[in-house]
Symmetry: C2
Subunit: 292 residues, 2 copies
DNA sequence: CAGGAGATATAGAACGTTTCTATGGCCATC
DNA sequence: GATGGCCATAGAAACGTTCTATATCTCCTG
């Protein structure tokens, strides 16, 4: 006869309490059910597991041997169930996010702080990379979600659009004369331009914009981080193309000002990427909920 | 929803094989059954356990956590089942027997040898004691079976009668003149008698026999072991009252001879005692089978 | 690009097994 | 001798697993 693992649960409680009636209570069953389950277990092994006494039941030597194993097994299952509950309640687990450094710093960080405050048991892993790298991480299962600039077109990905970002050109005190002007693209190109290095979405966007107007934008300086973009502009090395939301502090304190143009720069959104058709972890679900 | 421990078995195999179809084969189920079980487990936890891919299934991070526990648990259960099979097949386990030293030496030993040869994995424990002690051991669960002289009357005990023993008086060369005689009880009492110490069944039996004929038997010497009983008789210190089966070697080689009497001494049987209403271990069952 | 192979998901019916109630027997205790 | 607690048994009912049949998706192949 095949053994039903449920019987082990019954056996465990019967042995632990020394009473079929008690076991029945613990398991919210009736005593005959427990009696029946034990009987089937005994028949399966062809060995008696309990001595029936007037006070309850005692393990036979064979029953004791079985109990030694089953007790451990049941304890592990109990631990597993507690652990799963902890995972679901976000008392443990982990959240792995991919994205660019600048998005992390300016956009994800406040949410992460909030998330961590609410769920201190969840470990956070941040993997920075370019948008294609983030998508690869996602497809390889190395991260739970990616935070990148829109637009992204990929049928495998589930995209949740979030915050809107507007890019703009900014300059420092050195070009103070531009403060009150509205420049044409043509006029802007007379100044030294600082752009983010090639493989970024912002760079592609602005290049395409100039092309669509028949111009070609060629940066004087290329840098690899948003921080340098800002720093170079402040020091007057040129006019930087940045995301306005990332320089809000500098704009407020006046160390940078926006160079207005006579064309509008297309806004873009931050998208949260997850794998379509792949279940999300509780932590990832909770984080997306928070961001939305 | 309450978790059915059978689902863990399904989960284990699904995770182990990385395929619901494979798990179904291993468990002799159909694929939809496995799919259903996993689904219920996931619903119980409120967490996805597997990523479904075109090639099969992969554990989610949460599923991996669960698997770490469940794998151990299932391995323990497998070990338990193997151990129980070994116990039943008498590849392991133990057999605890209580009885008197003399019965062990002359009666139980050959059977034990045979048993041990057949089931070398079964550990043997011998506890010697008087008949009342053996019965106490039995009732306390310290031994599986007792080997004692009949008769025993105890409603709690299950008694299997076995070999017949006949007691007799034996003497050594010193009393060679008795070899061809048939003595009356009266005549026997003229000789020095050697008896086993008080609290033995044999002693009680012979005392009662003499009393029933109106005599009183008073030993010259009392000893505490059958070996001494034999040794003293051989050295001519008196006539010993022994179990004939225990001195068969001495009778054959002629170092002792039986002193015949004109009354017949009542035979007694060896009884194998077990607890009534208590299941026997496989080893005990096998041993009793062997002895009968 | 169409089609096949193989994977999982879903729906609904059938089957089997657990679970229950009711009862009896046993033992210890009062 | 009565009472209460314990386990075993019997039979019925309800529940849940398991099945067959089918759908959907992906990957691989001709």
């Amino acid at each position: 006869m095949a053994i039903n693992y449920e019987w082990y649960k019954v056996f465990y409680w019967a042995a632990k309490t020394g009473s079929l009636s008690q076991a029945a209570k613990s398991l919210y069953l009736t005593q005959p059910s427990v009696s029946h389950a034990i009987k089937q277990l005994e028949e399966s092994f062809g060995v008696a597991l309990f001595y029936r006494t007037s006070k309850g039941v005692d393990l036979t030597p064979e029953g004791s041997v079985l109990y030694a194993y089953i007790e451990q097994s049941q304890i592990l299952i109990t631990l597993a169930e507690e652990k799963m509950a902890a995972l679901k309640n976000l008392d443990s687990g982990e959240l792995r996010i991919g994205g660019s450094d600048s998005l992390f710093k300016h956009y994800v960080l406040p949410y992460l702080e909030q998330f961590h405050e609410r769920h201190p048991g969840v470990k956070l892993h941040l993997n920075h990379g370019t948008t294609p790298e983030v998508i690869t991480f996602l497809k390889e299962g190395r991260i739970d979600l990616g935070v990148v600039r829109m637009p992204i077109v990929d049928p495998q990905l589930q995209i949740t659009e979030s915050f809107q970002l507007r890019d703009c050109f900014v300059a420092g005190a050195r070009y103070a004369e531009l403060k009150d002007q509205v420049l044409s693209l043509d006029a802007l190109l007379q100044y030294p331009i600082i752009l983010f290095s090639r493989n970024s979405r912002a760079r592609m966007t602005i290049t395409e914009l100039f092309q669509s107007y028949g111009y070609s934008i060629k940066p004087e300086i290329e840098v690899g981080s948003v921080d340098l973009l800002i720093e170079f502009a402040r020091r007057g090395l040129g006019i930087s193309y940045v995301t306005r939301e990332f320089v809000s502090r500098e704009l407020e304190e006046g160390s940078l000002f926006e160079v207005r143009l006579d064309v509008s720069l297309p806004p873009s959104r931050v998208g949260i990427l997850t794998m379509r058709n792949m279940p999300l972890s509780s932590a990832a679900r909770a984080f997306i909920q928070l961001v939305r």
